[in-house]
């Protein structure tokens, strides 16, 4: 009983950059434009007279043409009722613009969208939270903003409070909340929405790991409840575990759609380097929570052959640039499952003297050595990051590349390929029972 709930046809969205598009244009420009219009008109007229018919008058007059930018270009797809669709793609591929059009925040330039049912969009948790208002008041406010009726909010109020675990602070202004409490409350309200169509943008990138897991569980419930969900994320793990289908956007167009595993695997292998000896990190998109710009990771280069071998040593060179002085820098790499679960990390900061203070802005290089790679044969995602001191993250890039681990000389033959995981030696004594 599948019926189309969202149908998008030739959707295009154009932004005008420069002169009239930005938000910096003041009234002065409008007045100036108006005031100089006659002069310009005369000038253009004269220029047109003077120039040969083939030439463009306004170009001769030296008027810069406004620059166009197509954030979306002829995007078409349909979504059936009850589908959970992941929208993936690099930053700037048009994912957010698409969601904004679907949730009616902005209007497309061309094309047509048909939506059947109530849409709730969750482009940010805590939209409209007011810091001066109490938790209780904000539940009603945020609920109303997300499209719940007062009656509906009242009915779910206790559930929301319990989910957010903020019972004690209900009458405290949310500006006194810890950021964790704030995010929990915000997500709790959003999680209790019951629209036919839910549009979600990367909201899971907040809160601690435990709460993220809870959110994910809630999202899965929503998805299982037969509602249609559109989910934008950079976290391929979340996308694969949550969605049944994926739409891969690239440069404002739909690059590929299909079953989530196929599209995600394709994206991971094409979108990110796979088994590359060197991965350039400079151009890659950072997750939203990377705020510090003092250090930027530049590249990782494997000195040992890729694919890596299970049980064998490995060496990698990590290059990064310090833009300004920063203290106690350490770098690390991580191996995760394709779904995004970290299995193994190597970090330089186990020794105090391996956390140098970088006083000079320049490029640095660290060689990481792995004695015997304990990862079982499988394909992993490589994460790379660096931080200052114990906790302050400087730069972090999850899943920059796929990296394959193949059986090494000492790998028991019975470890089959898909058995990812860490295999460590244990000390044992064989005893009589």
């Amino acid at each position: 009983m599948s019926n189309t709930i969202i149908s998008v046809e030739n959707l295009s969205k154009r932004y005008i950059l420069g002169k009239n598009g930005g938000n910096s244009d003041g009234l002065r420009h409008m007045i100036q434009d108006l005031a100089t219009a006659p002069a310009r008109w005369l000038k253009n007229g004269r220029a047109r007279l003077a120039s040969s018919p083939g030439k463009n008058g306004s170009a001769v007059a030296g008027e810069p043409a406004a620059e166009e930018f197509w954030a979306l270009k002829e995007v078409s797809f349909t979504i059936q009722q009850g589908e959970v669709v992941g929208i993936i793609g690099r930053n700037g591929a048009g994912k957010s613009t698409l969601l904004k059009i679907l949730s009616r925040i902005t209007e497309q330039t061309k094309g047509r969208v048909e939506i059947t049912g109530r849409v709730a969009s969750l482009l940010e948790v805590g939209t409209g939270f007011h810091p001066e208002l109490s938790g209780r008041e904000n539940i009603f406010l945020n609920g109303a903003i997300l499209g719940m009726s007062r009656h509906e909010i009242k009915r779910k109020f206790d559930e929301i409070v319990a989910f957010a675990e903020v019972e004690k602070f209900l009458d405290t202004p949310v500006k006194r909340y810890s950021s964790g409490m704030y995010v929990r409350l915000a997500f709790a309200v959003a999680a209790h929405l019951e629209p036919e169509i839910l549009i979600v943008d990367e909201v899971l990138a907040v809160g601690d790991a435990q709460f993220q897991k809870k959110c994910l569980g809630k999202m899965q419930d929503v998805a299982r409840g037969g509602r249609t969900v559109l989910f934008v994320s950079h976290n391929m793990g979340t996308v694969t575990s949550l969605c049944s289908r994926a739409i891969w956007m690239a440069a404002g167009r739909v690059h590929r759609t299909g079953a989530v595993r196929e599209v995600v695997n394709d994206y991971l292998s094409k979108g990110m380097a796979s088994n590359y000896q060197v991965v350039n990190l400079q151009e890659l998109a950072r997750p939203a929570y990377v705020h510090d710009s003092r250090v930027r990771l530049e590249s990782i280069e494997w000195l040992t052959d890729v694919p890596l071998q299970h049980g064998e040593p490995g060496e990698a060179l990590i290059r990064f640039t310090a833009n300004s002085p920063v203290e106690g820098v350490s770098v690390g790499i991580g191996f995760s499952t394709i779904e995004g679960t970290r299995l193994l990390s190597y970090e330089t900061d186990f020794q105090e003297d391996h956390r140098p203070n970088l006083t000079e802005p320049r490029t640095y290089c660290v060689k990481m050595q792995i004695d015997a790679l304990p990862l079982g044969p499988a394909i992993y995602a490589l994460d790379i990051g660096c931080r200052s001191g114990d906790r302050h993250p400087l730069d972090y890039l999850p899943a920059v590349a796929q990296i394959e681990v193949i059986p090494g000389p000492d790998t028991p033959g019975c470890i089959v390929r898909q058995d990812a995981g860490v295999r460590l030696e244990s000390r044992c004594t064989w005893m009589e029972p």
Partner: protein
């Protein structure tokens, strides 16, 4: 699976949602809750709290009365207490000024909502008008206080106040919508609005009576030109609102003074002397312009609101 027939939504460029007004009605709850939020938040973490809604107009009334009555020696028509006359002008003026400045900021200060959630954008400036309305109602206690102080009994004309408040809302909403939409695009209006409000209090007949303006115009320019210019003066929507308020609050049954002035072409002194009545032509002009501004405001706002999320 049974479900109520789902509403179908079609998004196309240039298709200003056919059901705009139904949509607006559909989002009434959000409107109420945003208004409720703005009212709650307005005086949070201030010691005097909602008393500010009284203190500001009260101080202005005191200053206006001192300047115009005590220093300049102006008289109020029919010799009603000058402070009450100023109050009857100050309350709607303060409402208008608050509404205009709050509305002009409203969309910009709710940018996070505008760029993340769909709703008819008109809700936002409208809710800031509700805030000003609440302030206005609180400030009405000044009027009550003054009437008790001066032993000035209300008349049945007070019954006209509710429709006059509606007129004041309309007068604030029209320019409010225009200014809101303009502020989104041109932040210059953040500078312009305080300026307009600052001199508006002198342009509008707040500290003085409209009759005085009328009389002075006739005195300086002669009856015909004076009357004509007075019509121009009446284009100001707040002239109609303030006149209405004065008529309802101060009014004693009496001759239609303005009418007498224009018909008989009597001296400017006569205008003042016989005032207390109601001068319809000026009121009609004022209301007319209010309606025009409201229509332009709604039209311009609707035309630009689709792009708010892109330019904000």
């Amino acid at each position: 699976m049974t479900a109520a027939p789902l509403q179908k939504l079609i998004l196309e460029p240039g298709r200003t949602a056919k059901n705009y007004w139904r949509d607006l009605f559909h989002y009434r709850e959000l409107f109420l809750i945003l208004a409720w939020r703005d009212v709650l938040v307005r005086y949070k973490q201030s010691v005097a709290g909602a008393a500010w809604a009284v203190i500001q107009p009260l101080m202005s009334i005191v200053i206006m009365t001192v300047i115009f009555k005590v220093l300049a020696g102006l008289q109020s028509p029919k010799n009603v207490p000058y402070a009450i006359m100023v109050c009857a002008g100050m309350l709607p003026w303060q409402f208008f000024a608050n509404a205009l400045s709050l509305a002009s900021q409203s969309v910009v200060s709710n940018a996070n909502l505008i760029s993340k959630i769909y709703f008819p954008r008109m809700i936002v400036p409208a809710s800031s008008i509700v805030v000003s309305l609440v302030d206005f109602l609180v400030a009405c206690s000044i009027l009550a206080g003054l009437m008790v102080w001066y032993h000035f009994p209300p008349t049945w004309r007070m019954l006209v106040l509710p429709p006059l408040v509606l007129l004041a809302i309309a007068a604030a909403l029209g320019p409010g919508l225009i200014v809101t939409a303009l502020t989104v695009r041109y932040r210059d209006f953040r500078m312009i609005i305080p300026f307009i409000i600052q001199f508006g209090i002198y342009v509008c007949p707040v500290g003085i009576s409209t009759e005085l303006v009328h009389a002075k115009l006739i005195e300086k320019l002669g009856v015909e030109l004076g009357n004509r210019l007075f019509m121009v003066y009446s284009l100001n929507p707040m002239v109609g609102v303030i006149d209405g308020f004065r008529w309802a609050i101060l009014g004693h049954p009496g001759a239609d003074s303005h009418g007498a002035a224009s018909a008989v072409a009597s001296s400017s002194a006569a205008v003042l002397e016989n005032s207390g009545g109601f001068y319809w032509p000026s009121f009609v002009v004022s209301v007319g312009l209010t309606a025009v501004l409201l229509i332009i405001g709604v039209y311009y706002f609707r035309k630009t609101e689709k792009a708010f999320a892109d330019v904000i």
